[in-house]
């Protein structure tokens, strides 16, 4: 018992000390992803959509829970005519933030075009 106690105490210590570091890591990931998103926003507004895609893909890799990154990436894919990828990215964005009206509105507008063209192809 005497031998086990220090191990238990040490383990609890490790877990407790690790907990804040997970939170820190997550916050850092969000911050890094946000930097990529902001850069992507700047270049997209200048019409450099390929660079924007690169940045936003990176943002989604850094923080896969960042809905805005998936939304922006979906828009860029849509602009480039990569409609399958756009649909998946919009769906992921909505999965992460289902109550975001702006993402939903983007997705509805996208669906209107995509459904129309695929319906026409099925004719």
């Amino acid at each position: 018992m005497k031998r086990v106690l220090p191990i238990v105490v040490a383990s609890v210590g490790v877990v407790l000390s690790a907990a804040p570091s997970f939170a820190d890591a997550r916050a850092k990931a969000r911050s890094d992803a946000r930097t990529e998103i902001e850069f992507g926003l700047q270049v997209a507004q200048k019409g450099l959509w390929h660079e924007a895609i690169y940045r936003w893909e990176k943002a989604t890799q850094i923080d896969p829970t960042y809905a805005a990154a998936f939304n922006d990436l979906a828009i860029a894919y849509e602009h480039e005519g990569q409609l399958d990828k756009a649909r998946k990215a919009y769906e992921k964005a909505l999965e992460l933030d289902p109550n975001n009206s702006q993402i939903r509105q983007n997705y509805e507008l996208f669906k209107e075009i995509n459904d129309r063209t695929s319906a026409a192809r099925e004719k």
């Binding site: 946000r34 998103i37 902001e38 926003l41 997209a44 507004q45 809905a67 805005a68 939304n71 922006d72 828009i75 849509e78 602009h79 480039e80 005519g81 409609l83 975001n100 702006q102 993402i103 509105q105 983007n106 507008l109 996208f110 075009i113 063209t117 026409a120 192809r121 004719k123």
Partner: protein, 290 residues
């Protein structure tokens, strides 16, 4: 004296602190900025048809009817040719418009005669050019109405588009282009009933209010129902077809010429027609988020 100096010093420090805070807040506001940006985008849409085997397109003509105020065959051919010239990679063939109604009626004749018994001195084979290679006449004994007034009248004419021998012959004549043909029904319509409209009223306090009002209206206008058929000029086979319906209604008192209504309705359909042959860009706006 000292008492006066001290407050001055502390005031200066206060100003610096206020300025620093203001600068910090301004910097923060700039760094944060808005959380969303509206951005215009253009979504490219791939053509529905693979037109790569063709270099030329022949808008052959249409089986048309509905009203005598507009020659829907001629107007549709003219409009589509001019649109294709500017918005498609294909070279548009300038040729006489095919009188497809006459062709279909001509095709119907032998079958009608055959139904009434063998012809004198005839071999029993087709007498028209459109039945080469033993192809049956397109409408096969179905009486074709001389004038097209509605959908029912146009239906028997549609068999003409399945007459591959005829279209192959047209294709050979024009060196195997992509052939665009079909039917166009443009007819007047009138409708009456209750319509809900917003109306401004003044309430008892003299304030303006907008309230929905239902009123009975008699309206008239036109309906346009085109069916575009795309035929491979090398084989005479139909590659693709699509049908549309558009309508416009005006107040009964309003006098709108049939031709301007026709163009108004065709304007709505032309992008869809073109999207079958060439890639299109659909403009819109989306919201980018931070």
């Amino acid at each position: 004296m000292i008492g006066r100096v001290r407050p001055e010093k502390s005031n200066g420090a206060g100003h610096v602190a206020v300025l620093a805070t203001a600068a910090l807040l301004a910097g923060f506001a700039i760094a944060c900025g808005p959380d969303y940006y509206e951005i215009p985008i253009e979504t490219p849409i791939q053509p529905k048809l693979d037109v790569s085997p063709f270099q030329r397109v022949l808008v052959a003509g249409f089986v048309a009817g509905g009203t005598e105020d507009v020659d829907a065959n001629q107007e549709t051919v003219r409009l589509l040719r001019s649109q294709l010239r500017t918005k498609s990679q294909l070279r548009v063939i300038d040729a006489d418009i095919l009188p497809l109604m006459d062709v279909a009626q001509e095709d119907a004749k032998p079958a009608a005669i055959a139904d009434s018994g063998p012809r004198e001195g005839g071999s029993g084979q087709s007498t028209t050019d459109h039945q080469v290679s033993g192809q049956p006449a397109a409408p096969q004994g179905v009486a074709l109405p001389a004038k097209i007034k509605d959908d029912k009248d146009i239906e028997p004419y549609e068999r003409l588009f399945a007459n591959t021998a005829y279209w192959k012959r047209i294709g050979e004549e024009y060196q195997n282009p992509l052939i665009v043909t079909g039917t166009v029904l443009f007819m007047p319509q009138s409708r009456s009933g209750f319509v809900q409209r917003d109306q401004e009223v003044m309430d008892s306090f003299g304030r303006r209010r907008v309230v929905p009002m239902r009123s009975y209206l008699e309206r008239k206008g036109f309906v346009l129902k085109p069916k575009f058929v795309f035929i491979d000029g090398r084989t005479g086979a139909t590659m693709y077809s699509e049908s549309y319906r558009e309508e416009v209604l005006y107040n009964a008192q309003q006098q709108t010429p049939a031709l301007s209504s026709y163009f108004e309705l065709m304007d709505r359909l032309v992008p869809n027609f073109l999207s079958a042959l060439s890639s299109q860009k659909i403009k819109g706006t989306r919201v980018l988020l931070k």
